[in-house]
Symmetry: C7
Subunit: 255 residues, 7 copies
């Protein structure tokens, strides 16, 4: 309904509404998320799977420094997509929240509680002037009262709970794959397979262990743990999506 020239009037200021009630800066921050490579979260009966596409722009770059999966607490992991430096701020915020909860109440922070603390923090940057929104989406997965929980935070500061989701590039296609293949009685291992297959569905030529990050948060004593390259490789092979050698695209600071 809005023409090009009218739109320009409302998308330059951070904290104002357009005539049709939209917040353009928040919508543009969502575009920053789409510029990042995909991250996936899957909830199973035994725990939560986090899988990320971590394409590297140079073979000389240390893969481990492309951080898209983070440990927030022993029982909570976070995957991100979008502006990397913004993600780091939110991860730090989440870790501090988890520590404060442990200190204050003597027990681990709930996954929902943590998610909502993060989204409230995000919302402030969309309403009060003098700053821009965060250009990042987080997948927060963890165990709460013995139950796996899986949340998303988006740049508007809205929390969503999911059974399985993707953020970042190709979100639509990956979610189509997940909707078609997810069932709520997956084991954790089956969840890992599904995550890898979903990532492979949008990567022609298969996946390499170097281009993938994989973590699980299990309901058992193990809690949060990242998989090694060897473990990832055998998983890729098992899932039939192991590439010979993936080509790497040049890429910006959205990941």
């Amino acid at each position: 309904m809005q023409g090009q020239s009218q739109q320009q009037a409302y998308d330059r200021g951070i904290t104002i509404f357009s005539p049709d009630g939209r917040l353009y800066q928040v919508e543009y921050a969502r575009e920053a998320v789409k510029r990042g490579t995909a991250s996936i979260g899957i909830r199973t009966d035994d725990g939560v799977v986090l899988a990320v596409d971590k394409r590297i722009r140079s073979p000389l770059m240390e893969r481990t420094s492309v951080e898209k999966i983070h440990k927030a607490d022993d029982h909570i992991g976070i995957a991100s997509a979008g502006h990397v430096a913004d993600a780091r701020q939110l991860i730090d915020f989440a870790r501090r929240q988890a520590q404060v909860n442990q200190l204050r109440y003597g027990e681990p922070i709930g996954v929902e509680t943590l998610t909502k603390a993060v989204t409230d923090h995000i919302q402030q940057y969309t309403q009060v002037g003098g700053a821009r929104p965060f250009g990042v989406a987080l997948i927060i997965g963890g165990i709460e009262d013995g139950e796996p929980r899986l949340y998303e935070t988006d740049p508007s500061g809205t929390p969503y709970e999911w059974q399985a989701l993707a953020v970042g590039a190709d979100r639509g296609d990956i979610e189509d794959y997940l909707e078609a293949n997810y069932s709520d009685d997956l084991s954790l291992d089956e969840g890992v397979d599904l995550a890898l297959e979903a990532l492979a569905s949008v990567n022609d030529g298969g996946l390499t262990p170097e281009g993938i990050g994989l973590a699980t948060v299990s309901v058992g004593d193990d809690g949060f743990g990242q998989l090694s390259d060897d473990e990832i490789e055998s998983r890729l092979e098992a899932a039939g999506v192991l590439a010979d050698e993936a080509d790497e695209d040049d890429e910006d600071d959205e990941e």
Copy 2:
């Protein structure tokens, strides 16, 4: 009286009047409310009914995470329409107000008192610079001195008391339905039926339990309570508005 190009001059700043005395940013925030799916409140002799349309954008999303009905206190529930992240801020504000009142005066906060605390908070964001208005409308329903009370807060910070109302998408059509069918001697159960019928009046093909949120605040000891999916389903069936399987629309963060 105002042409297109002149209007543009006054709708970019938050806190200024247009030549005809309007606050465009507040009016645009009302558009953000209209972008959200509908919420309904109905006051009966026995209590207050809150019913919300909570369409989900994906079958993998947890319906419970689409929060449009919130418990503010044992005797007060709040339904929202519009920008979800903004709604969360106001809900948190309302809960803190309720707690403070309990601590300070040793008694539950009044529904009107709570509503006006919220609207005063909203008004500040329309007059003082450096922030945008809240893009959300709330329906605040509860029991005060044994009497059901039902209020609306709008983005200008104005409180209204209602017998029955709708906010969000299709407000006009739903209110037409309510005006035609509401009577002030409804029982709480009849109020629930009316709410569901009103929602169904703007949803072709009927309603699904998954797409509906329903809560009541009764004058009795029960206070605030949300209905389970099964309860909702039997109610939908009883009201003759149960759908086979509703199609889901893609939807933004206004709900």
Copy 3:
């Protein structure tokens, strides 16, 4: 003397003068007042009459929630016209001033003292940056040293004292009626009649009790008091301005 395009240059900033010495934002705030329905104040020998047009946008809205008459203290009432949420801020400010005066000096605040505290507060919002003016006019009526007093506050922060006045829509026509019919030896009851007749003079088809708010502040022990619907109805009938059933207009948050 100013053309259209030149005017635009000076009416966007809150706190600057136009070349001909005008403050456009203040003038636009006066337009917000005109967008609200009318309020009337009449001073008689026995007390002050406050009468307001409180048209309701829906039959399901509680009439009492459309607050245009407020009690500021036992001996002072305030009627408003214009932006409702702004009015609430000023009413709260006035009530706090009245309480502080009682606490500090052990006596009720003077009507003039209260009025000037309010107008000084309003003026600040027209001179200092970072906020917009208040889009509301108040009629402050009360008893001071046994004498009825009647004041107006306008969006520039100027106080005026009146024998009888109107603010809001149709101000000019109502004031014409008052000038033609007011005399300074009215009894309080005659003042009520005059107020209702003046309101009726700009409402074709007469008035309904539901569409009218009416309060008096008498010099006697009663002080401030609002009339019930039944009382209003009998008064309307007595004044010959009772409608069969008034049509309601759709209306915004200016009232």
Copy 4:
């Protein structure tokens, strides 16, 4: 030397110079003064005369509420012209200065000292950002060490001392009259006559007691005092400038 379009560039910001070294906002504030009705001050050997044109926009408005003459202290009066709400701020500031001086030094504040405190306050609003200049001029008249003193403050924050002056509408014509008729050996009564004649010289059809405010500050024990309507009427009659019944113009908040 400046064309129309170039001028526009420098008159929108409060605190910046134009290329020819002018402060447009201050000059526009002077226009706000000219929009107000005239005020006159005359210094005589026996005291100071303050006379103001206080046209009322409605017969129902209380004339006494149109305050253009104010008592700052027992020995100092102030007349204003221009934006009424701004005038009230400066009058309040002046009264506080007078009280502080009395408290701190145990003696009445000097007229010059008070004037310069006010002009320094005004100047700040012309240099520091975030506010607009005051749109008002004051005539400050009083007794200092037994001698009558008469000052003007203008919107730039410059103090001037006068034998006789006018501010507001028709300043030029009234000052021409004063220059032609003032002599420095006037008695206070003769000063009153001169002030009324000067006001009449720009009001066709003479003056009414209701349209005039008149005060004197005498060197004797009386100090500051305002004249009653009856006193004004007899003075008008004596001066031969009493009107039958003046027509009232509609008027804004500049007075």
Copy 5:
């Protein structure tokens, strides 16, 4: 090198450089100085002469209220040209500096020390945002260690020391006259004559005592002193520059 339209881009902000390294707001403030009538300072072996052109816009204005010569301390006088209200701020600042120095060190402030305190204060207003530069130049003359000293402060905040100088209108012509006629062995009386002749050189028809302000700061015990009208008149007569009766120009607040 800069065209008209490009210049406009850099002269609206206070604190930014133009592409050729100029600060336009400072240069415009110098124009405000030129809009004021001239002030002259002359240093002689016996002391410093300050002479100012104080044309009055009306015969009813008290000449003494047009303050262009100020006593900063017993041994320092200051003459100003430009925006009068700005000058008052700097004079007040200078007086406070002089008092603080006396209190802190028990000795009179040095002329150079005082000048640099003033120019540092001025510079701040040219570099930090939120305010405009001072539109005034000062001539600071005094005695330091028994030696006459004569300084200028300009709107950029630069201090200059002079043997003789002029600021304000006709600066160039007056300085030409001073350069042609100044010698460094003048007596204080000869300095007074030179100052009057220099002022007369740009005023056709001679000078009047009322239009002149004259002060000296002598190395002897007298220190700072202003000359009376009679003294000025006899000096004008002696210098052969006494006018019959000068015509007065209308004038703004730059003096």
Copy 6:
């Protein structure tokens, strides 16, 4: 997808997103990095090599004052490219972090910890208003737990870990050279040779000792150390890239 004129709308503000989710000011800060001469970091088994191109704009300038290699702590060195004055701020920040860590925990700061403290600091300048991003990239190399570590910080505030990298001018060409010639079993001496060869690959005519800065951080007791001119010369000769006498380019404050 974006035309020229649309781009201009989003690149002037620091902290806002463009419609395609980019932060133009951060991207322009990266251009400031490219304007600086190249800096190289190489990680070997024995330690880290930092090599910088430090072309001098005049033979009279002291080469040592062109600081592109800095000691952050005994075990950490930092090389920079881009805006020199900005680099100094970040280096100072890094040194303070290292000192605080030593004081607080009694042990040297980790290389990764230090890098992330710096990038978090950088990120703040890209999100919060009132400042611009840092126009500099750092290469942070050091020893942590006996292992060489090599990091990059970019203007968005993203940390990357590398085996070998270049920042500044010719980054692409130098990284191509490094990718072709780097192997992960280099000795520290071989790393120095590779760094010099890589720099020479983009400098026609070879390198001069004066135009090169070279430092190593070894895993042994030596820690951080800069090489002398003589050492550099013999290394250049050994690597076969010693120039006769390099021509110097004029250069700005990006280095």
Copy 7:
């Protein structure tokens, strides 16, 4: 690569990058430096020479008040070029730093330490909003550990160390002369001669003692000292660059 109209978009704000990574306000501040007359610094074995062109705009101005050489401490002198009032701020800052160092550590501040404190201060004004950069360059010369040191600070906040340099007008030509004639075994007297010859190389018709400022900082006990007019004259004569009588140019506040 940038056209005229695009450049305009980036040079108005203080703290933002242009698309090619430049900070225009800093570059414009460098233009302010070029508008000032030249200053020269030369380092010799025995000490540092500071020589400045201090053309005076009027013969009546005291030459000593044109301060371009300042004593920062007994062992450090500073010469400036550019905006005089800005220079004074930095000189004051430098002096305070020197005093604080003496008080805190009981020893004279190092020349490099002082220079970097000044450049860090300058850098802040180029990154944080609300102020403009300093429009001045400093030459800081002094003795540190018995060794002469010579530094430059530029408007970006970058420190450079030099053997010999010029800042201000004709920098390029003077540096050409210095590069051609400087040798690193000059005596302090030969350094003075070289400085005068370099200044003369860009001044047709030779130099006058009045138009030159000259100071040395020697490694011996003398430390910082300025030369008298007679000393300068004999030096000019000895160097064969003494003018008969130099013409003076009109000049602004850049010196």
